[in-house]
């Protein structure tokens, strides 16, 4: 079976089989589960841990789990954890070094990961985010060994989005709600009549796994229902980015008076950067043992909202809140394009829901668009 093969139908029992098949092939399955008041991504032992009957209501600065009447498994929206956590770990050791008595130094590189991940039930926006991280961390002159060791050989089962949240805007970013690439297997959950999933493969590995699942041929009605579910999801999305090239908008509004307005609300807490599935920035720290002969070089996620982030000898470059928010949104929507040839935003809406001040990236972009032409707030150095 190849990706050109016709889609298949699997029942709810197929999800259990999917877990078994993936585990037999050596994957550690990571998927959504309802835990600690949210649907988070976590290592799962069985399909029973999937968030059946849960979805979440979100708004700017708000995320609440909600019980559903039906048993929908993939009706959740983006929670606080994305696949980034697994392929670009929050903490990692880049190397350790040991000094022998004669002064020679032996260096040991990063540990090989013990697990190979299969992501099950991630939405198209998060699959797009993996594509962004691929470009940033693995697509340049120096591939990041920690990322590539975890990302290479991952298996991706995307769940097409059929129930977007109020904070979603993937249609503006061209990343959803349907899945077009970046997956091994795509599932579309169908709740009309029998609870079932349309399954199609996107790679030879996906075809092989699909062939191992209990499935039956999909009928015309199933295909139509799946198309309608994704189309309805697209129509249900209420948030949108300004309909214009965002990099040009960001470049034209570097000195907009609107930055001061955002700064009056932004707490520079960095929540948006932590939940963002593409924010990749890290800082490093070096430690030694008590003898001083053993040193380690560690890295951990960092945020451009921190004052230390831009510190060079003499002081931080970005001291004002306005400049730090500007850095974040301008990078995400604008200069990412210059640096990596793509947008850094996938429209998942996490930064909107998890901002304690309810700052909404789509509204700020719209306000920036409206602010063009107003007097500049900047000055020459």
């Amino acid at each position: 079976m190849t990706s050109a093969d016709p889609p298949r139908l699997i029942g709810t029992d197929g999800l259990g089989a999917l877990f078994t098949v993936l585990r037999e092939r050596g994957y550690t399955v990571v998927g959504p589960t309802a835990r600690d008041g949210a649907v988070v991504l976590a290592e799962l032992a069985s399909a029973e841990q999937l968030p059946s009957g849960w979805s979440a209501g979100t708004e700017a600065g708000r995320y609440r789990l909600r019980r559903r009447e039906d048993g929908a498994v993939f009706a959740h929206c983006a929670g606080p954890v994305s696949a980034k956590t697994f392929v670009h770990p929050p903490r990692a050791r880049l190397w350790s070094a040991d000094r022998a008595p004669d002064g020679t130094v032996t260096t040991t590189g990063p540990e090989a990961p013990a697990k190979r991940f299969a992501f099950v039930g991630v939405h198209p926006c998060d699959v797009a985010a993996l594509g962004v991280l691929d470009r940033v961390l693995a697509g340049g002159e120096h591939p990041d060994p920690i990322y590539t060791a975890r990302r290479d050989g991952t298996f991706v089962v995307v769940a097409e989005c059929t129930e977007p949240a109020a904070t979603c805007f993937c249609t503006s970013m061209g990343t959803g709600p349907g899945a077009t690439s970046g997956f091994d297997l795509a599932l579309t959950e169908l709740l009309d009549g029998e609870h079932r999933f349309l399954a199609r493969s996107g790679s030879p590995a996906g075809a092989e796994v699909l062939a191992a699942l209990p499935s039956r041929q999909a009928g015309e009605g199933d295909l139509a229902a799946a198309s309608a579910a994704v189309r309805d999801a697209a129509a249900a999305i209420t948030r949108h980015m300004p309909d214009e090239p965002l990099p040009a908008l960001m470049a034209a509004t570097r000195e907009s008076p609107h930055w001061a307005d955002v700064a009056s609300r932004c707490l520079t807490c960095g929540n948006c950067t932590m939940v963002c599935p593409t924010c990749f920035c890290v800082t490093t720290e070096d430690v030694t043992d008590l003898t001083g002969g053993h040193a380690e070089h560690l890295r951990r996620w960092d945020s451009c909202f921190g004052l230390d982030f831009s510190y060079v000898h003499g002081g931080a470059v970005r001291t004002s809140t306005a400049s730090r928010y500007r850095q974040w949104i301008s990078h995400k929507l604008g200069t990412w394009q210059d640096q990596f040839g793509m947008s850094g935003c996938v429209g998942c809406g996490r930064c909107i829901a998890w901002c304690p001040a309810g700052i909404d990236i789509t509204r700020e972009a719209a306000a920036l668009a409206a602010s063009r032409g107003e007097p500049s707030g900047g000055a020459e150095p």
Partner: protein, 269 residues
């Protein structure tokens, strides 16, 4: 090149330049790294303390020289390392000065403080192939006479180039110009309209220097500056060295002024 693991290098030469600045000559303990071009930088590791980006400030044969000013924990540890000590080196990273673009032109080099370090290989490259370039002006500024770098080299350069050195604050032994390096620009004997310029120093110094050079007629497209932002990796992964559309570890540190100008103009970018 492995961008992650620091390659152990032994300090085989060490010169104290000023009270807080040291130049070290490094020899690889194992296989050497690729050659550093003028303007490129290394991430130098003081094991157990940290690593910092330091540009190459010259070479002895195949061995790179790095000039380090002690301004923080890592640079203090690197400056304190003695001959025979082992430090880690990653690189070369970043863009190089495009010295070839200056061939056939007059050359203007303007340095502020430690900014002379990445420019020394430019001056030495130009003077080593003197006939390929026109008149050469080297302007050097420092806060105090005691903070001036490379006194011997500057005296040697003066045989083949116009070298002017200024300080912000003179002391009893100082007989040269006093004031900002921008005040020296009217004294350049090279033909500005036919010149290529290389500028490195604090950002404000670079801004006003380039404005003065442009005012004298140096074409903007032939001005290069070396920009600085925090770096945690050097390899494009840490996100710290962003300046608008640039990742300075990859697209810099040496940047053509037409690219740098709109970015330098924006405060806190």
């Amino acid at each position: 090149m492995n961008a992650v693991l620091p390659v152990p290098h032994r300090i085989v030469g060490r010169w104290v330049d000023t009270a807080d600045t040291v130049t070290v000559e490094l020899a690889p303990v194992g296989a050497p790294l690729p050659a550093f071009l003028p303007g490129q930088f290394a991430m130098l590791t003081a094991y157990g303390v940290g690593d910092v980006p330091i540009s190459v400030s010259g070479r002895h044969g195949a061995r790179p020289l790095h000039t380090i000013r002690a301004v923080g924990a890592v640079t203090r540890a690197l400056c304190g390392a003695a001959p025979g000590d082992v430090i880690g080196v990653r690189g070369p990273f970043g863009t190089a000065w495009d010295v070839e673009a200056a061939a056939g032109h007059d050359v203007i080099v303007v340095a502020g403080g430690i900014g002379l370090a990445p420019l020394r290989p430019v001056v030495e490259r130009v003077l080593a192939d003197r006939s390929s370039f026109g008149r050469v002006a080297v302007l050097v500024g420092a806060r105090r006479p005691a903070e001036l770098l490379y006194g011997g080299a500057r005296r040697e350069w003066a045989a083949q180039a116009q070298v002017i050195t200024t300080v912000d604050r003179a002391d009893d032994g100082w007989h040269g110009p006093v004031g900002l390096v921008t005040a020296l620009i009217p004294r350049i004997e090279a033909d500005p309209a036919a010149a290529a310029a290389f500028v490195c120093g604090p950002e404000a110094m670079m801004w006003f220097t380039v404005q003065a050079l442009l005012a004298r007629g140096v074409p903007s497209a032939r001005v290069q500056v070396s920009l600085e932002r925090t770096m945690r990796c050097g390899a494009g992964w840490c996100g710290h060295c962003q300046l608008g559309p640039l990742l300075l570890c990859r697209d810099g540190p040496v940047v053509g002024y037409p690219v740098a100008e709109p970015l330098m103009r924006v405060r806190e970018l």
